[in-house]
């Protein structure tokens, strides 16, 4: 690495003086980014443009990552709004192309709508101009900070510091980096994690050159990839890079070389230093028979959404509300924060059964919750950090959903926020931009019943029980989804849905560490006009539960594991993400039971694993109100480890059953409890020893981790993918593991 030249030591040193005049003002000049009036709240909900498979069996789409200006709002005490460069998705349906909305609202990407059994055929283009964003690089030496994003502050302590730097701070690859590079994670899909499937190990750099002369161009890409998609339709996703069209292989190689030889790093002239070049990485991977990691400008995604066939598969794709979002390690938080998300609706018999009862009269709302911003959060610049970004729905604050009197609608709610959990608290009987901190109205003016979680429908037993939210609290951790049937009152009016942003702690202890913010409006329901009488679907008509979603029985369990999400430092099992290391290896077509623990006492890390959903069977919440109240049957006594166990009264709220455990793909691990003791390692009670962390001298601290147990089937697809915390800044900084499902078969015969 070339030595960095220091500012002020050359000929310019001393040529002028610092002018820092507090309070001085000068006239503004024209600029693309500028302060603008804030959009009014209470505007109509924006429906996202949809790209559908049109009952053809193929979801064909073009998905573009572009940079453009949209109006964002901040969350300071004096609200201000500004036009900001965002990196956002836009989409085109090649069979029915339409212009993408050009308004100033920071809307999510297109909603994809496919059916179980469809083949997904998406050509993804990265067309952003990196020059509109801070310098950022993809690749460097492990353990260094050379390729980590840096910020320059006004003190010597923040002089060109890595973001989240300092002693013991972030180092590559677990630092913020490479935010102009991305990929697409199809969150909730049960498909191959390899090659052109839900492969989050890809790095797709922006196309080279400038518009309209990007390399590769869209037309060139479409031409070169046409035979690939044709082959995928008959043979499925490719297994090897050599299966791709030769011209595409050659073009990608040429472009990675061009990137390496024309890119500047740290102010030095090209080429990149060898340690940061990407072509050698690709060359080595291809020589080993692997799919190359780095791509320039475009990649094709082609993978099935498998329909359950017991003769061929152990599970199928669950029909439901899924989503897609950027997932490149080191930039997931920033990219999702700038809006790189979209809904992915996969329809199946679940939808057919709902339609059979309601007919065409069941209107749907796809509600993408986002927390938009252009900077990492929280900033580590010292002083009081700014408030987290506000919560928007489909690009607007507190938008209005219109319902008829007595109408039932299906709401597909997705928490696409990069950081906060969103708790549905209550509807209040007024249209307001601020939620009253009062007792929720009873009976609730707008009622709801949950029918699916994380894109997997409820069993009717849980609909009846009910396992989900019924007019009460529903807490969606980042990445959680919920399908709700929402019923409007029989009389007209306007009603505000008040929610609480939190670290997924509210369901445990609203007055404890990490207590939530006051309720704030998420959206408003305007009830007007009349229509056919509607009601919640009766249990007898509830969608049939697929056979492949039957409960995982103890007799199926092949292996048990324990994972510990750490307190601070973004670790799992005491380590940050280890590039190139497989942390968990599972055998194909087996089921496992995992205990996932959380030592943090200030947040519930949302655990997420790709490809296969899981069932929560046990939850231990040591910070639940019942668990912290002496005398309560659920009290967790720090002096008595025998009380460190799940309590039915608490568990019934989040993991009712059996039978019919609920399926999830993201679950917030209950926070742990930490108690400063007044005994040393030698003097603390023997029973507490497993829970102690003690300094060499001095008193110990007791850690009572929160945890859940889950069961999952690792079926149908081999390959490497990841598990991680879905507070995405944690994932970027190391709270992630690589997992691999290996084949349960061998080609060898033994005699």
């Amino acid at each position: 690495m070339t030595a960095v030249r220091r500012f002020g030591l050359g000929a310019a040193a001393g040529a002028a003086a610092l002018l820092l005049v507090v309070g001085a003002r000068v006239p503004a000049s024209a600029q693309a980014q500028k302060i603008v009036p804030c959009p009014a709240q209470g505007q109509p909900l924006l429906p996202m443009p949809e790209i559908s498979s049109h009952n053809t069996g193929k979801l064909k789409a073009t998905l573009r990552l572009i940079d453009t200006t949209r109006v964002l709002w901040d969350s300071g005490s004096t609200p201000r709004c500004a036009t900001q460069y965002l990196r956002v998705f836009e989409g085109t349906d090649p069979t029915n192309p339409k212009p993408w909305p050009t308004g100033s609202d920071p809307i999510p990407g297109p909603t994809f709508r496919a059916k179980v059994g469809d083949l997904v055929e998406i050509t993804f283009f990265n067309e952003i101009n990196p020059l509109n964003f801070a310098a950022t690089l993809d690749h460097s030496v492990k353990g260094s900070t050379a390729a980590c994003d840096k910020f320059v502050g006004s003190t010597s302590a923040t002089k060109s510091a890595p973001i989240y730097g300092g002693a013991g701070g972030d180092v590559f690859p677990n630092c913020l980096h490479g935010s102009t590079t991305t990929n697409v994670h199809y969150h909730g899909t049960h498909t191959t994690p390899s090659t052109t499937g839900d492969n989050v190990l890809l790095f797709v750099r922006p196309a080279l050159g400038k518009k309209p002369n990007l390399m590769p161009s869209e037309s060139q890409t479409n031409t070169l990839l046409a035979p690939f998609f044709q082959k995928c339709e008959t043979s499925g996703p490719p297994k090897y890079w050599k299966d791709m069209p030769l011209a595409w292989q050659a073009l990608q190689h040429k472009l990675t070389l061009q990137y390496d030889t024309t890119t500047s790093m740290a102010g030095q002239p090209p080429p990149l230093p060898l340690a940061s070049q990407i072509t050698p990485v690709n060359t080595h991977e291809i020589s080993q028979g692997l799919w190359p990691q780095y791509h320039i400008g475009a990649v094709p995604y082609c993978f099935p959404l498998p329909k359950y066939d017991p003769a061929k598969m152990r599970m199928g794709q669950a029909p439901g509300t899924h989503w897609y979002h950027a997932h490149k390690h080191g930039s997931t938080a920033l990219n999702v924060a700038t809006g790189m998300t979209g809904a992915f609706i996969i329809e199946g018999k679940y939808d057919d059964d709902l339609k059979a009862y309601y007919g065409a009269g069941l209107r749907q709302q796809v509600l993408m919750i986002q927390q938009l911003g252009t900077a990492p959060f929280p900033l580590m610049t010292g002083g009081q950090p700014p408030a987290p970004p506000p919560i928007s729905v489909n690009g607007r604050l507190n938008p209005v959903v219109t319902m008829r009197q007595g109408e039932v609608q299906m709401w597909r709610v997705l928490n696409g926020a990069f950081r906060d959990a969103i708790q549905f608290a209550y509807f209040q009987n007024q249209s307001a931009n601020q939620c009253a901190a009062t007792t929720p109205p009873a009976p609730p003016p707008v009622q709801w019943r949950q029918i699916a979680q994380d894109g997997v429908q409820f069993n009717v037993a849980n609909y009846e029980r009910p396992a989900g939210a019924v007019n009460t609290q529903l807490n969606l951790a980042p990445a959680n989804r919920a399908d709700l049937l929402v019923k409007a009152p029989a009389t007209p009016g306007t009603f505000t849905l008040c929610v609480v942003r939190n670290n997924a702690l509210f369901i445990q202890n609203p007055s404890g560490i990490g207590a939530p913010l006051p309720p704030s409006p998420l959206l408003t329901v305007n009830v007007t006009g009349t229509g056919p009488a509607m009601d919640f679907i009766p249990p007898a008509k509830f969608p049939t539960f697929p056979a492949f979603l039957k409960d995982i029985q103890p007799s199926e369990i092949h292996k048990w594991r324990e994972l510990v999400f750490g307190a601070g430092f973004n670790t799992i099992d005491g380590k940050k993400f280890e590039d190139g290391v497989v942390n968990q290896q599972m055998t194909l077509n087996t089921a496992e039971e995992w205990t996932v623990k959380n030592q943090a006492d200030d947040k519930s890390h949302p655990f997420h694993i790709h490809i296969n959903p899981f069932q929560i069977i046990e939850v231990f919440e040591p910070n639940a109100p019942e668990a912290t109240t002496p005398g309560n049957p659920c009290f967790v006594d720090p002096n008595n480890p025998a009380t460190f166990k799940p309590c039915p009264a608490i568990q019934a709220k989040v993991a009712p059953g059996p039978p019919w455990w609920i399926w999830w793909d993201t679950f917030a691990i209950p926070s742990g409890r930490q108690i400063q003791l007044t005994c040393t390692k030698a003097t603390c009670a023997p029973a507490l020893q497993p829970y102690l962390q003690c300094p060499a001298t001095g008193n110990c601290k007791e850690f009572i981790p929160g945890w859940f147990k889950m069961r999952s089937r690792f079926v149908d697809f081999t390959g490497q993918y990841v598990l991680h915390c879905h507070i995405l800044i944690h994932e970027d900084r190391g709270m992630m593991q690589l997992v691999e499902v290996i084949s349960d078969k061998t080609m060898y015969t033994h005699h």
Partner: protein
């Protein structure tokens, strides 16, 4: 939540260059600022004689800078240390 602001360094006639905007206003203390070098030669915005403040590296042509976060209110007057006689720019932090 902070905003991010971009200052373009654009080539002008001859060997000249200009900051666009020349004065960046309405910046909050925790906002982020980047410089984008659209010129064909390196530039190095900063405060001469103060090497604990501003860019650690020059900005190569056709690339952008790291993020600068002012941290305090006031008007920051900066120049290009590689072209110290050229007109500078201002950032107004309030």
């Amino acid at each position: 939540m902070p905003f991010t602001w971009q200052i373009n360094i654009n080539k002008t006639t001859g060997s000249g260059f200009a900051y666009e905007p020349s004065t960046l206003s309405d910046v909050a203390v925790n906002d982020q600022i980047i410089w984008t070098n659209n010129d064909d030669k390196p530039h190095w915005p900063g405060i001469p004689g103060n090497n604990t403040y501003f860019m650690a590296n020059q900005i190569w042509p056709d690339s952008s800078s790291d993020t600068f976060i002012p941290g305090v209110t006031g008007t920051v007057s900066y120049i290009d240390s590689l072209h110290p006689t050229a007109p500078g720019g201002k950032i107004v932090v309030s």
